[in-house]
Symmetry: C2
Subunit: 356 residues, 2 copies
């Protein structure tokens, strides 16, 4: 038996916040992928291969498996007890959490190096989980300047002065290319069910959501006892108990409503710590700027959600990053130029809550 010395600086002698952490090796006990959840369409009749005609499908007796999630997991050696389960937002896949548009490490590597097991999800009907039980038409629709603004990189073609996003063309190209379309309609219930099954499989863990993934995130927390905390980067919307739904918030980018749930369900979210982070260049008042405006409404409703959770005995926090001195974050803080600092906030919070 050979013994090999591997120099792993991160054991014991390195502060959490060291920017040099990516000079080290990543030591994995295991990694792999699987699909989870989903449903099966079973056609009537009896399958008969003699009906085959040049790959033209014929329905009798055939099945179709769809609406599952795809998950890629990595377990570091000597992993901390609670894994992080990452759920992306609209138009994205697990790529959100991987290498950043300018080639730095994303939350996948950062938290592996910090000894968290990571589970990166492609939600049902997205990315490698493309088999949808509902049809879709996919059109190449030029919309990237809109997303540049909605995601608060700047006002096209200008970047915000303080923005934590690289200014080179290649990084922006890469950022646009990490989008990937729905292969079926977004369905909160389908996504929730698949991730509840994922938590059945994984056991206790921490759910980390982004943007549109925020909504299924709350429902996953309601429906799985294995979710021990929810961390949400700029969630899209929120559940409220029956009879406590706030008035919809109207803004330049649409009318934003919460989602009413039975009080009994809502109370489950008061049993786990919840933290939300919002970045910079979000409006305080109604504005014509798309990004400032879109996230103004969602941050405002988020504050009402926090208030409601805490009024019912829960532990929710909404962090406005500029108010704690962290400026320039876009809608994608996990890949912004200061993503190590953003990860440090999460590490510190997990430690504070005894979840590390």
């Amino acid at each position: 038996m050979a013994l090999v010395l591997v120099n792993i600086l991160s054991f014991g002698c390195k502060p959490n916040n060291n920017n040099d952490e990516n000079n080290d090796l990543i030591v994995l006990k295991d990694q792999g992928s699987f699909t989870v959840g989903g449903t099966i369409i079973q056609n009537q009749g009896t399958y008969d291969g003699s009906k085959f005609d040049n790959f033209k499908p014929y329905p009798e007796g055939q099945t179709y498996h769809g609406d599952h999630a795809y998950v890629f997991y990595q377990i570091p050696d000597k992993a901390r007890p609670l894994p992080l389960v990452f759920l992306h937002g609209a138009g994205q896949s697990s790529k959100t959490w991987e290498t950043t548009p300018d080639g730095r490490e994303g939350f996948q590597n950062i938290f592996l190096r910090r000894k968290y097991a990571t589970y990166l999800v492609d939600q049902p009907r997205r990315g490698k989980a493309g088999r949808s039980t509902v049809p879709a038409s996919i059109e190449p629709t030029a919309d990237e300047q809109m997303w540049f603004e909605i995601f608060r990189i700047g006002i096209w073609p200008n970047y915000f002065d303080n923005v934590q996003f690289p200014r080179d063309k290649e990084s922006l190209d890469n950022f646009f290319r990490q989008m990937t379309p729905n292969t079926g309609p977004f369905d909160n219930g389908v996504i929730t069910n698949s991730l509840v099954e994922l938590f059945d499989k994984v056991g206790n863990g921490i759910l980390v959501t982004h943007s549109q993934g925020g909504l299924p995130g709350w429902f996953i927390g309601i429906n799985s006892n294995n979710v021990k905390a929810i961390v949400s980067y700029e969630p899209g919307t929120y559940p409220f108990p029956e009879g406590e739904l706030p008035q919809p918030i109207t803004g330049r980018t649409g009318v934003l409503s919460g989602v009413e749930v039975p009080l009994e369900d809502f109370l489950k979210l008061t049993k786990i710590p919840i933290i939300m982070y919002f970045g910079d260049n979000i409006g305080e008042e109604i504005t014509e700027e798309l990004g400032a405006e879109n996230w103004r409404t969602r941050q405002s409703l988020g504050k009402l959600f926090v208030e409601t959770i805490n009024r019912h005995g829960g532990d929710a926090t909404l962090v406005e990053l500029p108010k704690i001195g962290i400026v320039g974050n876009t809608h994608f803080p996990m890949s912004d130029l200061n993503n190590i600092e953003i990860a440090d906030l999460l590490s510190d919070w997990l430690k504070e809550k005894g979840l590390d």
Copy 2:
């Protein structure tokens, strides 16, 4: 500085073919993901955010980045010089090479443990590389019993007696769920271009293709000097020099043709070693069995391809696995029950060719 002893059995003292290799740690120097290749649609006009109307897209001045590939790479510590670049087949993503349907390690982990850097591709218009410049309609079409037969697992609902595929329902469910649809038409040129760019980025490497990925594989080899060998599992079809195209092969599953290329292009494939593997239960004569028949035609044309490559001074081999005593392989030898043995064949071949 802390030193940690990591017991890595695979250094120096373990035979290549040891089935216990998955008890060890995976030690990575780096991992990450990126997109590569693709094109940009640039609409005329000037983008104007004030035209925004509730996320309804408007075209003026907007862009759309599409037709790139998505790549997830992992570099083991002390990696061998030549990485393996894996390209999946029809209806699949990089999942082909990851965890098997019954939860064993796939080629991704097996070859990482053998110290090869791995690059796993989702080709343009598939998986996480879903932004296509050409529209698509995605229908949930029940077709899995057909694939069960085409992929030579058995004659539905029966498994082949010798098949190297697990018999439990869950494994078959997982196998079906690893399919994911095209988000735009399959385009050999688009795929080839993106992977040629990948090899520009990666440098010298070995291309490993499967099934429909075989065809772009040959063109990537023709168009990139960085491809140092091509390994192809049951490729779909083949290039031939102008004037040397064999007669199309007609079978129960359609008419199979080669693709004519200039002699000068074809000759580039004679400068690198090529190996192809075909599994079991492939017909010798015309048969009604879909899988036996489909791969009979493709294996037959493969033999003519090998003959043509070698007649022009190249080094191509087609291995019929049952003829070397390896029985029961489906169309997915990389995830079959004997996939360690299949990987060993590849390791041995790479060693023989001085590519390890």
